[in-house]
């Protein structure tokens, strides 16, 4: 190879690294979400915050029963007959008939009754992870009028595409979704063991909602705060994200 060609190839490679991440880097059934900014729902005493969010490849829809079955076949520890109570409560995959049989009509529907541990393990096995709250709120925090969702009672709070992703294949079928740091909201959802006065439960909050009229966000943040990592609920599923390669 002549030195000039080698040099120009090096330049091309360098340009390649310097380029911003492109949508083409994402796989099938993924949507490219460009870098952006997340505005946390709660202001602090320092005022409204803006958190930069890196670009990601995002699952266009929540993981389905069929997808999850594939994972279960490869990873026997996550079968419902074998799962430990620490990692998922008894309702884990409650709607499956046995270890390998989801409801026939729900095969291509989102898997629910999955714990945070199971969801995280699935994503890791597929080379990804659960989205952070910041990522989720950024791609799904678009506000939609309650009236647009007739059937699912909390559908307006369960996400809809951010305006800039409106023309993508991104889908929100009206379920709650796990986030990797679901336990970051400053809300107490714990009952039974919280014997103290309200004011003794938290420190460092002084919280105020950025937009107090955003009822959907109130619901999401308090729902997340009420979860435990082994909860497996009827309306709670997940999708995965990957760093843009």
């Amino acid at each position: 190879m002549r030195p000039s060609i080698a040099a120009s190839m090096l330049v091309l490679i360098a340009i390649g690294f310097a380029q911003p991440a492109y949508a083409s880097a994402c796989r099938a059934r993924e949507v490219f979400v460009p870098a952006g900014v997340y505005t946390p729902f709660f202001k602090t005493e320092g005022g409204t915050r803006w958190v930069p969010v890196a670009p990601i490849c995002l699952g266009e829809a929540p993981v389905t029963n069929e997808d999850f079955l594939g994972f279960i076949r490869e990873h026997p520890d996550w079968r419902k007959s074998r799962i430990k109570a620490l990692f998922a409560e008894d309702s884990y995959l409650a709607d499956w008939q046995d270890d390998f049989t989801p409801q026939p009509e729900a095969v291509s529907k989102p898997v629910t009754f999955v714990s945070w541990f199971a969801a995280g393990a699935y994503c890791e096995a597929r080379g990804g992870r659960l989205p952070t709250v910041a990522e989720w709120e950024r791609f799904a925090g678009g506000s939609v009028a309650t009236s647009q969702h007739g059937a699912a009672p909390f559908a307006f709070a369960m996400g809809s595409s951010a305006p800039e992703l409106a023309n993508t294949a991104l889908k929100f079928p009206g379920i709650w979704e796990w986030t990797v740091n679901f336990n970051s909201a400053l809300v107490s959802g714990r009952i039974g063991t919280s014997e103290g006065a309200d004011s003794s439960q938290f420190c460092g909050d002084g919280i105020r909602a950025v937009d107090p009229s955003n009822y959907g966000a109130f619901l999401r943040y308090s729902f997340r705060a009420s979860l435990r990592a082994n909860f497996a609920l009827k309306n709670l599923g997940f999708r995965c994200v990957r760093a843009v390669p």
């Binding site: 409560e89 063991t193 938290f202 919280i207």
Partner: protein
């Protein structure tokens, strides 16, 4: 500042309503040890540099709190309360329990910082100070039901939750007002004989 607001109370109401639904739809049954948090496959380092995996804690009960050393709110109050508790408790309870402080801010709380904290807070050898990766801390907190978030550089909003683990690592008691009421913890310790 630790003042609660109307917003927080409203949110708590919603959360309780949602949880009530959860409670009605789930059962709780499990084999002994199946709920032990020592099943978490995370790696930790003590302030003295020694590596630690959670199963190494088996045998003693543990009083566990998540803290960070630059906390100016309730963490020092909680830690002081744990320390006073450890010194004042009757001998029969004293030998059954150890104390675990886990930092939620591993970036700032290096081992050297934790060692300095141990000196400043005058923590004796029954206290372990642990540092782990951000994801290990997030996982441990998720299992405990401890919520926390970094709100601005150096400060966190966080639960004031302390947890008692039995000698196998199962959660047997949690409360958010330990600093002003440690009686319940003493009761729990007495009710759970240590199995060695």
């Amino acid at each position: 500042m630790c003042a609660g607001g109307a917003v927080k109370r409203a949110l708590k109401g919603i959360a309780i309503a949602l949880l009530a639904v959860v409670a009605m739809t789930t059962r709780v049954t499990s084999e002994p040890g199946e709920r032990s948090i020592y099943q978490l496959d995370s790696s930790w380092v003590e302030d003295n540099g020694r590596a630690l995996r959670l199963p190494a804690l088996e045998g003693d009960m543990q009083l566990l709190a998540l803290i960070y050393t630059t906390c100016t709110g309730t963490c020092p109050v909680t830690v002081k309360a744990m320390q006073m508790f450890s010194r004042s408790m009757p001998d029969d309870a004293k030998e059954r329990i150890r104390f675990l402080l886990v930092t939620v801010d591993p970036d700032t709380d290096t081992l050297a910082t934790l060692r300095k904290y141990r000196r400043e807070m005058k923590l004796d050898r029954r206290f372990k100070l642990l540092r782990g990766s951000a994801s290990s801390v997030r996982e441990l907190a998720a299992v405990l039901g401890f919520n926390y978030e970094q709100i601005e550089s150096g400060q966190f909003a966080h639960s004031n939750l302390v947890t008692v683990l039995d000698s196998r690592g199962e959660i047997v008691h949690q409360q958010t007002d330990f600093a002003t009421n440690s009686k319940a913890v003493l009761e729990v310790i007495r009710q759970h004989p240590v199995e060695r």
